[in-house]
Amino acid sequence: MTSVEVMYCILGMFVVSYIPRVVPPFLLAKRALSPMVERWLKYVPTSVFGALVFSEIFIDGNKLNLSLGNINLIASLIVLAVSLKTKSLGKSIVTGMVVFWLLKNVV
């Protein structure tokens, strides 16, 4: 992507992130969202992170890497455990970096 394309991309992102935030106060001032939409939105974050995490771990270039020797997978299981236990984003990321570096350079 060229820097001009990145600019367009950011502008596009600005438009689509600003509109959903600013429209409700003007439009649905007193009405609540329909329960159906609200329920759907509840499942968006977990879905998007699930899709991203699996892709980051198992897709290597253009092919799937489902082997147990996949260092992304080993590091991620440790990060998952740390994150569930500590509920701390900082600790999870630092652990992930250290474990990943060790797996890549030492083991």
């Binding site: 600005f14 959903p20 974050p45 991203l52 980051e56």
Partner: protein, 185 residues
Amino acid sequence: MMSVLVFAGSGQFIALSMIGGGASISSIVLTTFIVNLRHTLYSSTLTAYLMGQSKKYFGFFSQGIVDETFAVNLSEFSTGEWDANRALALNILAHGCWVLSTMMGNVAGNVLPVDIAVVGYTLTAMFIGLWTFHFDNYLKIIIGVVAGVLALFLSGFLTHKLHIVVATVIAATLGCMIEGGKKDD
């Protein structure tokens, strides 16, 4: 630059990883739209406490709505000791910190020698962390895993990382249907 205009936290990190992965502009914008749709929910909820404010107020206030500011504003509003000006100040302050730390990160990134593979993994670790924050019931965990498996499956057919968007939409719809089905019983 992205931090000033977009202010979306996870949406921005997702976009960065997609840009790095060679995704098309349209798929990045579409993903951002879907990921940030939840702000509509926040914005409509907070509006209930902000009746009678001017259009200009909402114009500024809305840009500062993210997961964190929503959580703080809602809990402060519901306990009573809070008003529209403080809510706006909180949003602007949070946005300011975000922009400042982006700039600091940029400078540090240029100065410090870092192993690019480790940096790449940081993003994965962060996604895992952010993901676990949404694990408040089993259905959400299952739906997340379903989305992950779907994404891997779809990545064989869809280019430009569109598999992320499609997997998200399908899995969220599934979660919504399962929850709806349980309520009807």
